[in-house]
């Protein structure tokens, strides 16, 4: 019951369970849990019935829910046809652990996500929650920092700065009113793992924050969450209350003499506020514009005090490190950036969702083995990693291991972990234009290169996608990109040209097709494509396309077959979907001149076509 599950209809499914159980007078605990990360299977339900292993069911509609209550709960038939698999190994039912989507994952941060009720602190406590915090309190703050330094943990917000070193700096900074800020201002389009952690396991994050605060000597912590995440805000606020009530936060925690006040600050939605100094400006009540560094926030941050800012994933990893030791964490994944990474793999993949893997896993394993590859037997074209600041990598990079250094070397970056898989139907120029549109809009305006430069990049890309590109545009794109990188203060400007640079480097021929032939090879740029109806294939008397056209551009030509009025067509593609598969008469072409022009018969007007 996290945002994505609710969007898929989890609330209706739960209501159906409650209703069906009440109707049949069965007693069962219906527990709303967080997100398991298997978005493709939502709404997902796990049923524990005595005598059976726990069984996961996927895409459970209210109808399926009622059938499950009747057939499984009442009559003992576990309904194999609705099943994803058992959640544990057993002799009776095949287990989900046999699927690569499950066994290739390495769940460290998301271990409990989707298995516990995030609204109940006792469920987290029962699984050993807050034990790491208690262990930390028993030792010295230096022990905490030593352990985290030994673990090799690097900031999971994207930049990859060693966490232990950041804490050390803040610990040594003069001043006694230090602050810990949890950066949950997840603004990347296409990334939602922070939200999932906030919604599905808020107490793990709170424990991480408490340990961090103890380590650096802070008595105040602020969680900066996007206001667009109302459910995450509610879960965190509730979590803080519960932890205060049981005495795990607040004054004199467990009689250790350590105080910690945690509060939530609602971010108002500005991508640049993911940058730490901009985030600080925003909490202070200003426009979120980055400051010049140094001084670094660890020395002089919020209200001039030493401030540690860490991402949700970084802080959520901390409890496990303290519990099992820094060396244990160091042994996971690749040596340069040990630990696990969470990716939201979306776009053209079969098993989309959140995946937590050990660093060093290759992109191929991630996309093809874990997420099931590209649907509809389409061809893989590129994977976009790291959101608007990242880059598009082609097939030849599929064997790149996923870690901070390898990805940066390839021209992409880990970023916050958004990963969009694209097949042959995605136009790289169009995708680069999309990201520039985003960064141009989100540029705070402080640095001229970023403010004006991104606008110019966008204008050029706009022109190219409309077939108005010029031969010299490609060179300008390259040189301007480099200048923006050099002339910008913060990460937004320094990385904004990445999508353009990588797509130019790896998919130059697509740019050239747009500029020289006015053709979009992927047939995605709408100005450069056209739809037409193949008269050989169109069936007489079928009206499927006419009914679905939003602009009545389809008319009946003389031989009672259909044709498209190119001057009215908005190229939405609905007719292509609507045309029955046995005819498949609607064709898409690029450049648009390839579409045959069929004149509308004069006696008919668009209204009665």
């Amino acid at each position: 019951m996290a945002t994505c599950g609710l969007a898929a209809g989890a609330a209706e499914t739960m209501a159906a369970f409650d209703e069906a159980l009440a109707e049949r007078r069965l007693t069962a605990h219906v527990i709303p849990v967080g997100c398991l990360g298997h978005c493709y299977a939502e709404p997902l339900v796990v049923i524990h019935k005595p005598g059976f292993p726990g069984i996961a069911y996927h895409n459970v509609t209210p109808g399926k829910a009622r059938v499950l209550v009747r057939t499984f709960l009442e009559e003992d038939d576990p309904l194999f046809e609705y099943m994803l698999g058992a959640i544990e190994t057993n002799d009776l039912i095949p287990s989900v652990l046999d699927f690569p989507r499950f066994y290739l994952e390495h769940r460290l941060v998301m271990e409990h996500c989707g298995l516990i009720d995030p609204q109940d602190i006792h469920q987290y406590l029962a699984l050993g929650g807050y034990a790491a915090f208690i262990k930390a309190l028993a030792g010295t703050p230096e022990d905490v920092i030593r352990e985290v330094s030994a673990s090799g943990l690097r900031g999971r917000g994207g930049a990859g700065f060693p966490t232990g070193r950041k804490w050390q700096l803040a610990r040594e900074a003069p001043g006694d009113r230090k602050i810990v800020i949890c950066n949950a201002d997840e603004g990347d389009p296409g990334a939602y793992m922070d939200r999932t952690l906030l919604e599905s396991n808020p107490h793990q994050l709170l424990e991480g924050i408490a340990i961090t605060a103890y380590g650096v000597g802070a008595h105040r912590a602020i969680i900066y969450v996007r206001a667009e995440y109302p459910l995450a805000v509610a879960r965190m606020t509730q979590g803080i209350q519960q932890a205060n009530t049981v005495g795990l936060l607040g004054a004199d925690i467990l009689e250790s003499g350590f105080d910690l006040d945690v509060s939530v600050f609602l971010g108002s939605g500005a991508f640049v506020c993911g940058e730490e100094t901009a985030l600080i400006e925003s909490i202070e009540g200003n426009r979120g514009m980055p400051r010049y560094r140094p001084p670094y926030p660890a020395i002089k941050g919020l209200w001039g005090r030493p401030t540690v800012i860490n991402n949700v994933k970084t802080l959520s990893t901390v409890p496990a490190i303290i519990r099992q030791g820094g060396n244990w964490h160091r042994a996971i994944g690749s040596p340069g950036s040990p630990g696990t990474a969470i990716f939201s793999v979306v776009g053209k993949v079969i098993h989309a969702g959140l995946v937590e893997i050990a660093t060093g896993t290759t992109l191929r394993t991630l996309i093809f083995d874990i997420c099931g590859g590209i649907p509809k037997r389409k061809k893989f074209k590129a994977v976009q990693i790291g959101g608007p600041s990242g880059g598009c990598l082609p097939e030849s990079f599929l064997d790149t291991p996923v870690d901070f250094d390898s990805l940066t070397q390839a021209g992409a970056m880990m970023g916050s972990g958004g990963m969009v898989v694209m097949d042959e139907e995605s136009c790289m120029v169009n995708v680069a234009r999309y990201f520039l549109d985003f960064t141009q809009h989100e540029s705070c305006g402080k640095c001229t290169f970023c403010r004006v430069g991104t606008r110019h990049l966008l204008n050029i890309l706009d022109r190219i996608t409309k077939g108005e590109g010029k031969e010299q545009d490609l060179e300008v794109l390259e040189s301007l990109s480099q200048e923006i990188k050099d002339g910008s203060l913060c990460g937004l400007g320094k990385t904004a040209p990445n999508p353009v640079l990588t797509s130019l480097r790896y998919f130059r021929e697509e740019y050239e097709a747009h500029v020289r032939e006015k053709r979009c090879p992927a047939m995605m740029c709408r100005t450069l494509t056209a739809f037409f109806i193949d008269l050989e294939k169109c069936a007489r008397g079928c009206d499927a396309c006419v009914g679905c056209c939003p602009v009545t551009a389809i008319f009946t030509s003389r031989d009672r077959k259909k044709a498209i009025d190119q001057s009215l067509c908005v190229k939405c593609g609905e007719c292509m979907v609507a045309c029955p598969a046995e005819y498949a008469a609607v064709k898409k072409v690029s450049p648009p001149e390839l579409a045959p022009v069929i004149a509308r018969p004069p006696e008919e007007s668009p209204q009665n076509a």
Binding site: C4, C39, L266, S268, R287, G347, G418, S426, P550
Partner: protein, 193 residues
Amino acid sequence: MFNMQDGRKAQVNENESETQVPVEDESALPDIASALDSFERRRRNLIPILQMMQQRQGYLSPRAMRLVAEHLRISPSEVYGVATFYNQFRFHPPGRHQIKVCLGTACHVVGGDIILENFERKLEIKEGQTTRDREFSIERVACVGCCALAPVAIVDDATHGHMAPSKVEGLLLGFQIEKEQAQKERDQSEPST
């Protein structure tokens, strides 16, 4: 662009439930003025205050922003500067039905812009605008985090996944039927009273 002038009253049905966003400019002002007193006069409270106001009024009116400036003893331009920086704040009243079309990466790749265009065409407004009768407003949002359901549109509080142009028509038709039904009921009940 549909401009809301100060003090121009919107037509609000009296039998509307409280959950509807109030679209009147002034009715919420005294309420806001009293709520302001609960905030300390510190600069750091500026964004929380603006958020509170938008929640009560549905948008930030020029008058409300002036009240905040007075309260925090800063210039109105300073308040306006901060408010316009962030995506969350809107400066004209939203429609009764709010339509948000997701244009995140995953939605873009599968044609989120086509969905947006369909809403715009059907309602004859552009994103960021409200229809003349205040029934609908359209916004684009960066990512709502339901990427597996792309393309996504959020209409009022319901998330609609796997959108298609024909679904856009269906949704709007649904609202139209609902409205006509309500009108019919009103017409029927009126002569009897």
